[in-house]
Amino acid sequence: MTPDIPPHRPFDSPTRLDGLRVAVTGGTSGLGRALVENLWQLGARVAFVARNAERVNEVAGQFSGTHGIAGDVSRREQTHAIALRITAALGGLDVLINNASSVGPLPLAPLADTATEDLQTAFDTNVIGPFRLTQALMGALGATAWQGRPALVINVSSDAGVEAYAGWGAYGASKAALSHMSRIWDEEVRAHRLRIHAFDPGDMNTPMHAAAVPDADPSTLKSPADAAREVVAIIDNARKTPAPVA
């Protein structure tokens, strides 16, 4: 995990995102927290969601000006309340990053031993949650797009949704669903200048990875900060891509 260094704004950032309104789910740990930090450093206006209210307050306090929302994206009855708090905090939305993930049963289990409830949890968090939250925020993203600015959804996925890794059945199947859903959704809305993008960050040195693979060698894992920079590059790219001719 990152050592205890107070956050700072670097002298020369590769790109600035001043005023860009970004929502991040799973924003208090791992890649999500790295995203909140990186976006905040680049001047974006950030709202983030996580389940643990104390951790939400801690992260919001550390990155002053970000909006922390305690909520569970896997709970259907919370979707629109979360969406409302996001658009209320930011006044609209330019980018939604569906990052909150469930790794499935722990310890990792073959599908033959996986409880249905654990499979369900993986799908609730990794597929249904992003599906519902994206739907609830389509109006806000659409408003951005119709006003001529790019609107983007980034769904954090995994190559476990592409390759067949034994023991990663629940997670892998859910990420495969998320990736394919992202592709289809993108087809359906790209004419409105609204894009949906599935992003594979690779194996990262995060609490989630450590819980799944406790004896992994951290030096072989990517830092969440590096993965966050890749996400920022995707966002930056989208902003620089000229609008299609109407």
């Binding site: 909006h67 409302l84 659409g142």
Partner: protein
């Protein structure tokens, strides 16, 4: 859906055929306000009496501007009782504290009616929104027993939280229709307007509806309107709230322009519409402020004919739902409904049926 064309001809059509009544080069303008769960239950601190607060107005759409609202107060009970039958709220005075779940509100001003007050919330902005999102409930009425979820009162284009009740004409929109509009060359733009409450439960207070409603018109919408007007396309407003916003902005010095405003006017038979050529809206009762908006498009004689057509309990009416698409009348209204003339309204409608 009942269509009233610019010459007063009436057409019944399935709501699914809405797209056929919009021509390439027309512009559809919708209200993208997301509905705030504006019903807050709690109690009056000085007396301990239960009450329900329904937030009903504010002066701007700024998401920081949540510390003050005007509100209508109700006594004990909830939406399952008809608003007119609800007991009176406790008598409140300036400075009284209302405890509404996690929120603490203070009565700032009394607004000339025992149930109409200005309130202030004392909490950081984020906390107020958190409390509204988690403790507030959508305003709803007795004809619908089932508690409404927030998702039930958001249209598919709901963006910023701004409306106190759903801008219900927007329920006709979905992403399939948005795609169809694009394919047909019909432009689409949104504005944000704080759609207000439809009933206070008190006849005297109802006369003051609609309250002042803040709105904001983006640059893109103004450009789309100007371009459409240049090309002689028609500006079609989806809902009475869009009319209120556009016509208020257009009536200001300098005419229609982007930015915020506060719609404080009444639209009615004497309104000279400067922007809208047509309105798509639900059916409304004569006497309510939504119905009055229709009177800017067509005279009472024609609207009477429309009411009759709707009331007739036509075998097709259940299929056609309760949507009206009314064009500004270009000439004196024509009484009743045409039969078999083969007249096509402007814009070209394939396969439209005149009513008999």
């Amino acid at each position: 859906m009942l269509v009233v064309d610019p010459r007063g001809h009436l057409y019944h059509a399935s709501r699914r055929r809405l797209i056929e009544y919009l021509a390439p080069g027309d512009l559809l303008v919708a209200n993208d306000a997301a509905t705030i769960p504006a019903s807050l239950s709690g109690y009056h601190e000085p007396t301990g009496d239960p009450l329900e607060v329904r937030l009903a107005g504010r002066t701007t759409l700024d998401t920081d501007d949540v510390r003050q609202f005007v509100a209508v107060l109700f006594g004990a009970g909830d939406h399952r009782m008809r608003t007119e039958d609800r007991p009176a709220p406790p008598h409140v005075g300036i400075g009284d504290v209302l405890r509404l779940g996690p929120l603490r509100a203070t009565v700032l001003r009394l607004l000339g009616h025992s149930r109409f007050v200005a309130l202030a919330f004392e909490a950081p902005v984020d906390r107020i929104w958190d409390a509204l999102a988690t403790h507030g409930k959508p305003i709803q009425y007795a004809h619908l027993v089932q508690p409404l979820r927030l998702q039930d009162v958001w249209t598919r284009i709901a963006a910023r939280p701004a409306a106190f009740e759903a801008p219900s004409a927007g329920f006709v929109l979905d992403w399939t229709l948005l795609r169809a509009l694009k394919n047909r060359g019909v432009l689409f733009a949104t504005l944000t307007h704080a759609a207000g409450i439809s009933s206070t439960g008190d006849h005297e207070l109802d006369q003051r509806l609609p309250f002042d409603e803040p709105y904001s018109i983006p640059e893109h919408a103004v450009q789309a309107i100007e371009e459409t007007q240049r090309r002689h396309g028609r500006i079609v407003a989806l809902g009475t709230t869009v009319i209120r916003a556009l016509e208020h902005s257009a009536s200001q010095p300098g005419g229609l322009s982007p930015g915020p405003g506060l719609a404080n006017q009444r639209i009615g038979p004497y309104t000279d519409l400067r922007v809208a050529d047509a309105i798509i809206t639900g059916t409304h009762e004569p006497g309510d402020s939504h119905y009055d908006v229709l009177r800017a498009f067509a005279d009472d004689h024609l609207l009477g004919g429309v009411s009759s057509a709707l009331e007739r309990g036509d075998y097709r009416s259940h299929e056609f739902g309760d949507t009206m698409f009314v064009f500004k009348q270009v000439a004196h209204s024509v009484v009743g409904v045409r039969q078999g003339e083969g007249h096509l309204p402007e814009g070209g409608i394939a396969g439209a049926e005149s009513t008999t």
